[in-house]
Each structure stands twice: as structure tokens, then as C-alpha cells.
């Protein structure tokens, strides 16, 4: 079995930033999910009348936000850690 290379306990700034970038990328879908589930709070059978128009604006607004954030993060991630391209 391969031996794990010993990793340093504290990293320098660039590597630390890169790790946090990856954390952000992992958490983005969770955040997105929560944002998309928020309408459950004000729409729904028991709640007061919710407007489809406003709800639509909210959803598409969140959608835009997610796309933009994903775009920024992905650009940074690829620049920081280009995968072994091994193009087939």
C-alpha cells in the first residue's frame, strides 16, 4: 500500500486559500438547496397568498446568483488546481 505523504499541519497562505476555495465549492450546492427551499416558508397551503410573479422573480434571482457564483468559483478552481488533463 502506498504511504501517505506526511502533510504539514499549517499551510502557507496560497495553499490555505485554495483549500477554502474547495470548501466553498463543496458548500455551494448546499447553500443553493437551502435558498431554493426557502419559498416553502411563505408559499404553501397554510401560508397567506403568495404571488407567483414575485416567487418567480425570487427563484430566477437565486438562480442567477448561483450561476454567477459557480462561474467565479469554477474559474478560480481550475486556475488553482488544473486537473491532470489526461485527455483521452
Amino acid at each position: 500500500m502506498a504511504n501517505r505523504p506526511t502533510e504539514p499541519l499549517f499551510l502557507e497562505r496560497q495553499t490555505y486559500r485554495r483549500r477554502r476555495l474547495m470548501d466553498a465549492a463543496r458548500i455551494l450546492p448546499v447553500a443553493g438547496f437551502i435558498l431554493c427551499m426557502l419559498p416553502m416558508l411563505w408559499a404553501g397551503p397554510g401560508a397567506a397568498d403568495a404571488s407567483v410573479a414575485v416567487g418567480g422573480l425570487y427563484l430566477f434571482g437565486v438562480w442567477t446568483l448561483l450561476i454567477v457564483t459557480a462561474g467565479i468559483l469554477s474559474r478560480r478552481l481550475i486556475r488553482a488546481a488544473p486537473p491532470d488533463s489526461g485527455t483521452r
Partner: protein, 891 residues
């Protein structure tokens, strides 16, 4: 009104255009000028087959009926795509390194290249995809009928047939090692653009042409019948989750996302670009629905608003464009789905059966490649035929429309095994298979079979009261929980039971070696590089391998591969050495064509070994462990030997020293014995030869002889005594005595009254009770006192006898006030025949102290010289405590 023929012409033109695109793309690929074919743009656009006719037409219908719920179908994939770093990246990496050809291949490969799992997933996929294809056929037929006033006879059949031809032509032309279909992917990308343009065009027309801009649309929505959002919360969450699962598990999605992926970094682009595409596709859905509800007469089919709205405004060109868009979405889905299914069927069902049937092994005559291609073509035709029949039998009714979600729930059944396999090393084949079967069964019972239509397969009585009257098994209300939406109900039960069984059985079962290997590789793919799996290379002939490879990969490709490997190895020609690395690489290449499980089986057949290679490795590891243990034992033994040798050496040295001592002893004895004997001989000679002698002289000589004889006897007695003591053969007569009495005896025996020595005693301390040999002890005291008498050179010689009692020992000190014994002689005095000072005056042989020391030792104590007491001081210690032996002897 556009005539039917004109429409058909338009379709043909479009299809011809697609053919051309596909053909050109393939040519470029063959020439190696892949360029744009490998761009992230093409990859992202190919993902658009997620949007089928169901979404092109159905989304608007969905929105017109239930407001914003249609967004969930696109939110799921969005979330999956933006989370690419965690999940999709791993999936794509595995697909590349393991040369995965389909989702069935992935599952099968992960769980020990299990054919069972491959078959299960394939069957499940065929079951839920076929109705979906039927739905596409229905959409096309419907859209035709809009243009032609309901005349759309035979549309579905011709569309299905045409699609079969297109797919077979571009999907099964040859067996790409990587299972890539450049032509089709490019065509799909073009279709994606057409779809998007069509929808955007209609949307733009609706928002700015019909309404007065976004603000106007906003007001229209508020005034429309769907202005209030009545969210079904359970559906909201469930549908989002289902669409996320479907985005990965649908065979066509897996095909374009993982199998056709050529570069991992494309994922980074698709992560935001694909959600953007979905966003644009959904942006105008609500406006179009609202306008349609507004403008069109009551009761018109909202599913077709995208077509009927432009037609209502006499926008024929736009309508045709939209029609083509819908046609695109239907056909692209069918093509890719058919290819994906055909790949799975040929790799996991046909090939294993065919391989089994051929007893002679993989190299015997029979062209594997041809069989593969033929089976794929047949599979494509079969799938399309099945779909057509499904459509024909369902009558194109509303039942089909619900199929989309039903298929999503079916696809989601693969999720537990997939996610578990990617992230949990404890997931086993048994668990995955059981989970899949349970999930499939529950899905079929609660959603699929009822969805075919009332009374078709499940009678309405069973629906109402459960099978055989078992109420808790009612298809729409399992365990008696009613009131749940159908899709939600099915999704919850099927996935919960699926996951539960999967986890439980995985925890309980033990995976075989290949499973564990694959598990470790899959779960850790992002951290470690792939390890080597060794086939036993020695038993394979390269030529056999070449024969087999040619049949699968084609002569040219196989020979090229072998030649390049041989070149790397530094050999000429087409036959490289069959090293493990080469065998592994060959397996990978074969897997690209026939799937990992089949390739593994074939390699196994040829090399004569099989997955046993891993157990072989484990056996070798056992042997190595045994050898290591053995060598450890040897080391321990040699250490022991070393120690023993050292001890022997020490003992040898001691023996040598002892032997030297013995020699000295003997020489000393002979000296001691000779001296008196000389005197005795001399004087007895004088007496013999004396003749006349005066009686005093005679008496004197006789006395000398007698004295010497006595001295000799004493020496001999002492010697005997000492030897007995040293050899331990002395018999001790232990008894209970009082120390004071022994000292009294000793003093009396030394003729104390005649001596000048004054003895000081401590009568009270001497009342010690001892259990010891009184005579021997007295012998020691006699010697010490006699020595003091002889050697104490003080003017008034005083001998102090001090007695101390520390609980363990009695300590008796004999201290005189003479000059003591010089320190260099303090050890010598206990040696045999050592006499200090004037030797003859002592009258003894110098054995006294040696004997005393031995006696003291035999009595369990010791005799030592104590320096620094102002005179000669001897210490006798005796044990107070009775040993067990003494105690027994005393009784």
C-alpha cells in the same frame, strides 16, 4: 396552414442537415483534428439532452397548470452541476481512469465487476427509458397534428424508424476504444442550439411582441388564473431531489456527462454554463403560459402553447422554428438514449451470454467485434420498436405525460448504489443488488404499473383494496399512509427501502477481494492514482492476445496498440512481452469496447488466471509473512546461542582459574605435608641409626616425631574437614541452642584461663536462641578466639565479643585491640594455607579461617573481616529466621 407535406419536407431538410453535421464531425475526428469537437462548449451543449420534448412542450403546460413547480425540474440539475467539485468530478475521473462505458458498467465495475449488477441496472434502465421514448414520439406526433389539423397518421412510426436509422448509422459505425461518438455528440450540440433559439424566439415574441415588455408580463402574471402560488411542499422538495438524481442516473445523461467527457476541465465550464442554459430555457416558460391562458380559447392544450401561441398570431415562420425545436429535443433524446441502452444491453447481457456459449474461449473463431456491433444495432431497433408499441398501445393519452416523473423515480433507484459506491468503501455487491431489486420492485408496484393505466396490469380492485385484500400493500397507500401525492409516495418508499436494504446488507456481508480493490480505488480516486492489478503474466502468449484483441478492437487498432507497446519495451514487431503492465493496459483498452466486466472475463480466460490473481497475491503475502516469522525465530535462536557461548566462555575461564587454584593447592599441600614428614623421617632415622643414645635425647627426638605426626594429622584433619565442607557433603546437626552457651563452650575449649587474653562479653545480648549446628558454630568461635590469643599483639590483649540482633540475622563481632590486619591482606586471610607473619608460631596449617568461612556459609550466614575497628575484627552472621527446610527438620 402548412401542409403536412411541407412540414415533412422541412423535417427532412433539418434531418439532412444533422446528418451532414454528424458526418463532418466524424471525419474530422478520424483525421484527429478534434479541435472544436473537444471544446467545453460542445460538452455543455450536449448536456442539453436533459431537456427533451417533455420539457420543451410540457414545461409550459406544467406552468399553466400548477405555477412554479416546473422550476424544480431544472433546479435539481443546477444544484448538481454547481456542486461538480464534490460529486461530478469524482464520477468523471472514475469514468476516465476505469474506462466506464455506461452507468451499468460503473455500478458493475465498482462492485467487483459483477455481471449481476450490470444486468440489473440494464433491465431497470430499459424499463423506465422505453416509455420515455414513447413520450417523445407522442410529442412529435402531437406537434405534427397541430400543423396538419389532426392528420398525423403514421408519424410516430416513421419518426421511430428514421431515428433508428440515424442512430445505427452514427452510433454503431465502429467500436471506438473510448466509446465516444463524436458525430452524434456534435449533432446533439447543434440541436441544443436550435432548441434554445426556438424557445428564446417564442419567449421574446411573447414578452415584447404580444405583451409590452417585462413589466407588462409581470402584471399579466398577477392577473392570470395562476397568480397565487399554492405550493405542494412535499412535491417541491421531492421533485428537486428527483431531478438532481435523474441528472446523473439517466442513461443518456450519464452517457454525455461521463462517458463522452474528454477533459475534466470541461466540467468547470459546464458547472455554470449548463445551469445558464437551463435558466434561459425556463426564463420564458411562465410568460408563454400566461399569454397562452390569456389569448387562447378555454380548453386548449397548454402543453402546446409554444406552438399555438405563435400560430394564433399568424407567425408561421416562428411556429415552424418552434416545431423544429420540439422535433430536435425529441430526436436528440431518443438517439442518445438508444445508444446508451444498446451499449448496456450488448455489454452486460449479450456479451456474457455469448462468451459463456462459446466454450472454446475468446480466441476461437467468431468475430467478437461483429457480434458486438450487430447486437448493438439489434438492441437499438428493439428499443425503438418497444417504445413505438408502448406509444401505440397507450393511445397517446394523458398517461404518457406522467411518464417523465415516473422515469425519474425509476432512475433515482440507482442513486443509493451509486453514491454508496463512490463514497463508502463498506458498500458491497450484495447490498447494492438487494437495494436495487427492492427499489425497483417498490417503484414498479407503486408507480410504474399503476401508471400504465387503470386496469391494464393492476386491476382497479387491487388499487382500491390492495393485492388479495391486503390493505397495507395498496399501491398508492403503502402501509396505510394515505393522502400523499403519488410521485412523492412512490419516491419516499422506494428510496427509503432501497437505501435501507442497501446499507443493512452492505454492513452484514463481506466483499470479495476484487470488490474491495475496486472499492478502495473508486472511493480514493481523487487522492491516489490507480494501483496495479496484476494478471499472472507468465502464462500468456502475446500472439493469443493479439488474436483476441483484433477481433474486438479491429485488426488495425489492435496491431497498432501492440506495436506501440512493443516499441516502448524496446522490441521490434507486433508482439511485446506480456508484462503485468501490458496486460493491465490491454484490459483497459478492451473495456472501452466491451465493458469492464467482459474485458476482465476475457483476459481472465486467456491468461488462465482470473480474479484469483488478487487471492494469489494474498497467498503470496501469507507466505512472505511466514518467512518473516521464521527468520525472526532464527534471529532469536542465534541471540540465545550467543548468550550461551558467552556464558560458556565465562564458565571456562572460571574453570581454568579453578584448575590453576587446584594446582597451587596441591603444591601447597605437598609442601605442608612434606615439611613434618621430613622431620619425622629425619628423626626416626636418627633413632634407628642412633646406637647408643642418652635416654633424654631419645625421649626428645621421640617427642619431636610425635609432635610432628600430630601436626601432620591435624593438617590432614583440617584438609578433610575443609574438603567435606566445600563439597557440601557435610552433615549438619541443627538444634535449638542458646548463643551464650556456645560461646561459653568455645572459651572453655580454648583454654582461656591459661591465656593472657581478656574477653569482654555481653551476657544479656547473648541470650539469643538459635537454631543451628552448635558444634560447628563452636568450632568457628574456637578458631576466632584462638586466633585472637595467638595474634593479638597489644600489651594487654582484650577481645570483645559483641552480639547484635537485627531481626533477620544474629551478628557476633570478635574485636581485639591489636594492630589488626593490613588492608592488602584482608582478603588473603581467608585463603587456604595463608598465614601472616611468623608462620611457624601459629602451629596451624593456615586453614582455620578458610574452614570457618565455609562453616559459616553452610550455616546460612557469613564470616567477614570488618576493617576500621581499631584491631582485628571478625563478624559472624547467622540467620535468625528458620528456612522451610530447617523448620521441617526441627519437627
Amino acid at each position: 396552414m402548412l401542409t403536412f407535406n411541407m412540414l415533412v419536407l422541412a423535417c427532412f431538410a433539418y434531418v439532412a442537415f444533422l446528418f451532414a453535421v454528424a458526418f463532418l464531425a466524424e471525419k474530422r475526428a478520424l483525421r484527429g483534428r478534434l479541435g472544436i469537437l473537444r471544446s467545453p462548449l460542445v460538452y455543455t451543449l450536449s448536456l442539453s439532452i436533459y431537456c427533451t420534448a417533455w420539457t420543451f412542450y410540457g414545461a409550459v403546460g406544467y406552468a399553466a397548470r400548477s405555477g412554479l413547480e416546473f422550476v424544480t425540474i431544472y433546479l435539481g440539475p443546477t444544484l448538481v452541476m454547481i456542486g461538480w467539485w464534490g460529486l461530478l468530478r469524482k464520477l468523471v475521473r472514475i469514468g476516465r481512469t476505469q474506462r466506464i462505458t455506461s452507468i451499468a458498467d460503473l455500478i458493475s465495475s465498482r462492485y467487483g465487476k459483477s455481471n449481476l449488477l450490470g444486468v440489473l441496472v440494464t433491465i431497470l434502465a430499459v424499463v423506465f427509458t422505453t416509455p420515455y421514448i414513447a413520450l417523445q414520439l407522442q410529442s412529435v406526433t402531437l406537434s405534427f397534428s397541430i400543423f396538419t389539423d389532426g392528420y398525423a397518421k403514421g408519424t410516430a412510426f416513421w419518426v421511430a424508424a428514421g431515428l433508428a436509422v440515424f442512430t445505427i448509422l452514427f452510433g454503431t459505425r465502429n467500436l471506438d476504444i473510448d466509446e465516444r461518438h463524436h458525430g452524434i455528440v456534435t449533432a446533439i450540440a447543434v440541436e441544443a442550439v436550435v432548441k434554445l433559439i426556438a424557445l428564446l424566439a417564442v419567449g421574446g415574441f411573447v414578452v415584447w411582441g404580444v405583451a409590452g415588455g417585462p413589466g407588462d408580463v409581470f402584471r399579466m402574471i398577477e392577473d392570470s388564473p395562476i397568480s397565487t402560488w399554492k405550493m405542494d411542499q412535499s412535491r417541491w422538495v421531492t421533485l428537486t431531489f428527483l431531478s438532481a438524481a435523474a441528472c446523473i442516473c439517466l442513461p443518456r445523461m450519464f452517457q454525455v456527462m461521463v462517458v463522452e467527457n474528454s477533459n475534466e476541465s470541461h466540467l468547470a465550464t459546464a458547472a455554470w454554463a449548463f445551469p445558464l442554459y437551463l435558466f434561459l430555457m425556463s426564463l420564458f416558460v411562465l410568460p408563454i403560459a400566461v399569454v397562452g391562458l390569456n389569448v387562447l380559447p378555454e380548453g386548449s392544450n397548454p402543453d402546446l402553447f409554444v406552438l399555438t401561441v405563435p400560430l394564433a398570431f399568424e407567425q408561421k415562420g416562428l411556429a415552424t422554428l418552434v416545431f423544429l425545436g420540439g422535433f430536435s429535443s425529441a430526436t436528440s433524446m431518443v438517439i442518445v438514449a438508444a445508444i446508451a441502452l444498446a451499449t448496456m444491453v450488448s455489454n452486460h447481457i449479450v456479451m456474457p451470454i455469448w462468451l459463456n456459449a462459446r466454450k472454446g474461449g475468446a480466441t476461437v473463431s467468431g468475430d467478437v467485434r461483429n457480434v458486438m456491433l450487430r447486437s448493438r444495432r439489434i438492441a437499438i431497433m428493439a428499443v425503438l420498436a418497444l417504445a413505438y408499441f408502448y406509444y401505440a398501445m397507450s393511445g397517446g393519452g394523458a398517461a404518457l405525460a406522467a411518464i417523465g416523473l415516473i422515469a425519474f423515480v425509476g432512475a433515482a433507484q440507482i442513486m443509493p448504489a451509486l453514491l454508496g459506491g463512490l463514497f463508502w468503501r463498506g458498500a458491497t455487491r450484495l447490498g447494492a443488488a438487494a437495494g436495487l431489486i427492492v427499489g425497483f420492485a417498490v417503484w414498479a408496484w407503486t408507480l410504474f404499473l399503476p401508471g400504465i393505466g387503470e386496469g391494464v396490469l393492476i386491476s382497479s380492485q387491487t388499487m382500491a383494496q390492495g393485492p388479495f385484500g391486503m390493505g397495507w400493500l395498496r399501491p398508492q397507500a403503502l402501509f396505510g399512509i394515505e393522502g400523499l401525492d403519488g410521485v412523492v409516495h412512490a419516491a419516499i418508499w422506494s428510496l427509503t427501502l432501497n437505501t435501507g436494504v442497501f446499507v443493512a446488507l452492505s454492513l452484514l456481508s463481506f466483499p470479495n477481494p476484487v470488490e474491495r480493490l475496486q472499492g478502495a480505488e473508486f472511493v480514493n480516486i481523487l487522492r491516489y492514482s490507480a494501483g496495479a492489478r496484476a494478471f499472472s503474466p507468465g502464462t500468456v502468449d502475446a500472439e493469443d492476445l493479439l488474436m483476441m484483441s483484433q477481433r474486438i478492437l479491429g485488426s488495425a487498432e489492435a496491431q497498432a496498440l501492440f506495436q506501440s507497446v512493443a516499441l516502448e519495451q524496446g522490441k521490434e514487431g507486433y508482439l511485446p512481452d506480456t508484462t503485468s503492465a501490458f496486460l493491465e493496459r490491454l484490459e483497459r483498452e478492451l473495456a472501452g469496447s466491451v465493458g469492464a466486466a467482459t474485458a476482465h472475463a476475457m483476459m481472465g480466460q486467456i491468461t488462465g488466471g482470473s480474479a484469483v490473481s488478487v487471492s494469489e497475491l494474498m497467498r503470496v503475502a501469507d507466505e512472505t509473512a511466514q518467512m518473516m516469522e521464521y527468520s525472526n525465530q532464527l534471529e532469536a535462536k542465534s541471540e540465545e546461542l550467543g548468550r550461551t557461548a558467552r556464558q560458556l566462555r565465562v564458565a571456562n575461564e572460571k574453570l581454568t582459574a579453578l584448575s590453576i587454584q587446584k594446582d597451587e593447592f596441591l603444591s601447597q599441600i605437598s609442601h605442608e605435608l612434606r615439611t613434618p614428614m621430613t622431620s619425622i623421617r629425619a628423626f626416626s632415622e636418627i633413632l634407628r641409626d642412633g646406637g647408643d643414645m642418652e635416654p633424654e635425647a631419645r625421649a626428645r627426638y621421640s617427642r619431636i616425631i610425635h609432635d610432628e605426626a600430630r601436626r601432620l594429622t591435624r593438617v590432614l584433619d583440617d584438609l578433610l574437614d575443609l574438603s567435606v565442607l566445600e563439597s557440601g557433603q557435610v552433615t549438619l546437626y541443627n538444634e535449638v541452642t542458646i548463643l551464650g552457651d556456645i560461646i561459653d563452650r568455645a572459651i572453655a575449649a580454648t583454654g582461656q584461663n591459661a591465656s593472657a587474653l581478656r574477653i569482654e562479653r555481653q551476657p544479656l545480648q547473648e541470650r539469643l536462641v538459635l537454631f543451628t549446628d552448635a558444634d560447628r558454630l563452636a568450632q568457628v568461635f574456637i578458631n576466632l578466639i584462638a586466633n585472637a590469643q595467638k595474634y593479638c599483639d597489644a600489651d594487654t590483649p582484650v577481645l570483645r565479643i559483641l552480639v547484635r540482633d537485627n531481626k533477620q540475622h544474629a551478628v557476633i563481632d570478635f574485636i581485639d585491640n591489636g594492630s589488626g590486619i593490613p588492608s592488602e591482606d584482608q582478603a588473603l586471610i581467608f585463603e587456604k594455607f595463608s598465614r601472616l607473619g611468623d608462620t611457624r608460631a601459629s602451629g596451624g596449617a593456615g586453614l582455620g579461617l578458610a574452614i570457618c568461612r565455609e562453616i559459616a556459609a553452610r550455616l546460612g550466614g557469613s564470616l567477614t573481616y570488618v576493617p576500621g575497628q581499631g584491631g582485628a575484627a571478625f563478624r559472624v552472621t547467622l540467620p535468625r529466621r528458620l528456612t522451610n527446610a530447617d523448620a521441617e527438620a526441627a519437627e
